[in-house]
Symmetry: C2
Subunit: 388 residues, 2 copies
Amino acid sequence: MRDVAIIGIGMTKFGEIWEKSFRDLVAEAGAEAIHDAGIEGAEIDAMYIGGMSTGRFIGQEHLGPLAIEVAGLEELHIPSTRIEASGASGGVALHQAYLAVASEAYDIVVVGGAEKMTDVIEMEATEILSSVADREWEAFFGATFPSLYAMMARYHMHKHGTTNEQMAKVAVKNHANATLNPKAQFRREISVEAVLNSPMVAEPLHVLDCSPMTDGAAAVVLAPMEKAKDYCDKPIKIIASEQASDTLSLHGRKRFDSIPASMEAANKAYKKAGIKPSDIDVAEVHDCFTIAEIMAIEDLGFVKKGEGGKAMDDGLTELKGEIPVNTSGGLKARGHPIGATGIAQANEIVLQLRQEAGERQVKDARIGLIHNVGGAGGTAVVHILEEI
Amino acid sequence: MRDVAIIGIGMTKFGEIWEKSFRDLVAEAGAEAIHDAGIEGAEIDAMYIGGMSTGRFIGQEHLGPLAIEVAGLEELHIPSTRIEASGASGGVALHQAYLAVASEAYDIVVVGGAEKMTDVIEMEATEILSSVADREWEAFFGATFPSLYAMMARYHMHKHGTTNEQMAKVAVKNHANATLNPKAQFRREISVEAVLNSPMVAEPLHVLDCSPMTDGAAAVVLAPMEKAKDYCDKPIKIIASEQASDTLSLHGRKRFDSIPASMEAANKAYKKAGIKPSDIDVAEVHDCFTIAEIMAIEDLGFVKKGEGGKAMDDGLTELKGEIPVNTSGGLKARGHPIGATGIAQANEIVLQLRQEAGERQVKDARIGLIHNVGGAGGTAVVHILEEI
């Protein structure tokens, strides 16, 4: 398999974007990525698009040809494939596109992700989101997405002494980072007190421990590494792309203080890239809830299992910390338009490795990691990128 | 890229299977395919699963880990990816899995497809199915899936003189074939008169011109060709796997008497395989409506454009005809559990090329074609298989 690089990125502003349709968002992110890569539409060999529950949010499945039509590329009849993997839809789409380029099946591949979540009422959105959990054995009995993560949080608190304050600090950090990201949904700082005093969603998770409902789209352009320099000055090489699975249900797991699929994907990715966790300069991790980021920094090996809470007290993952995490604001504050998230994470890491992240730039960032999770951990994808 | 073979097949009975859940169906088809391939679960490197609107039919997205949990393979943490491409979900899943094996990313890959459609009422099912058409510009204004194909039928009749009787003969042939298929949904013969006298759905398409609502699942096992003989006596080689796209909408097309994506995928596949349409011994084509099979045999080059109707009068595609089409009974009579259909088609062609198709065996069939379409033609996939 040959080496693959990201040669272009694009992303809409994330938020409640009532004035734009799903198509508008896909078009905007895709056009920006194609422009950034400096390619013509006719050079594109294939497209992938991640979307979670567009069939329910906007009554639209079959996103592959939708992306083709939006791009005006129907005359080319190139393959365009929709991937669904819950919150990891974007990351899995990126992995599949990576395989397609690495295999020499295609050269130039555009990978997008999009979701429009704010066209339905909140109650309905919660019901839709529970369709990525185990419907038969969890959701039918009332388990919602926050409640599944709340159980993981409770167990983590019980086993490792993690506190509400430590979880709150994840939200505080990510909101602070988002103030520096013009495309983020929430560009305001919050305090630990604000998190702890916000309404309870599923004990111990308050509303400010939860990522929001978001509209948005993101895209990246892939090319074989040996051709990447023809297109752009700063191709970012994908030095590992690994996908792992676990039970759909949470109750089927043997442990509840981690996402085992994250550990599996990360370990394989480090091995493939020939690096250690301490070699990572910057990471975007899947903070769908604050507890998820604490588990993630443990599962990815940035700290030992059980020490994620303490890492928040120590400021390890802050913008000026040892290993900055979620410099974009993360799912919590940049926003979480589900199918787009994995690709938005790739946008952020590419910006960081290009040294183009503006006020939130991590100095001399050279190796970055992307961690994207689906559901309660049924899917996890880890990509490691390097500036060559 | 290396050569890839199908080493195992499995499929549930298709029909209104109220006594089995979606999981039961996935488990049954998967277990049969794994048993047929003679592999152990622990040998599987990755899984792909096609499903169209499971989020709406059964409230369940995130089918990748569902398949892992059903298979009891969670300890392996292998990648498992859900593909959605409307009616072509199965075919696109097969194409992506083919790329994954051909690229040497994985060796043994199980590809499944499933849909459980009869747990919702018919009105709701029609609404769900229209989510694979263009929601904003077609479905919102009342276009249903049958009505889009009805417009194509009207145009085909106008331009090429195709008749209601010729379309009815597609249904008559496929029902006759299904009487010989123990797994088919409708195992009874029907007459041209019965089709023409059945209730009108969208003029000129009667209810017996339409494929039914079906529950079912199917699976195949892929392996690198060079290892296939270690597993089974009769590996069936995939000599071409091509996917093409077009506009999501029907109104965006330049022609309405064909599915251009089918022509594109077929032409690429013939070129890749180094064969002509006349080399095909048996084919499963996407007869979601009777007019779709007439367009398909034209688009695939079995007859010239406009001569599909006449081919039905001549019996060209009957079981004893020159090129038997839909020996399984097709979508019309074997049934069309949407995500499963492309994989069920692969099951049939593998049976035919193994000379194991029983009463419906096409004598000395050596090269077979699979044609799977999504929506009103936004996606098309063509696979060509050969018995080596």
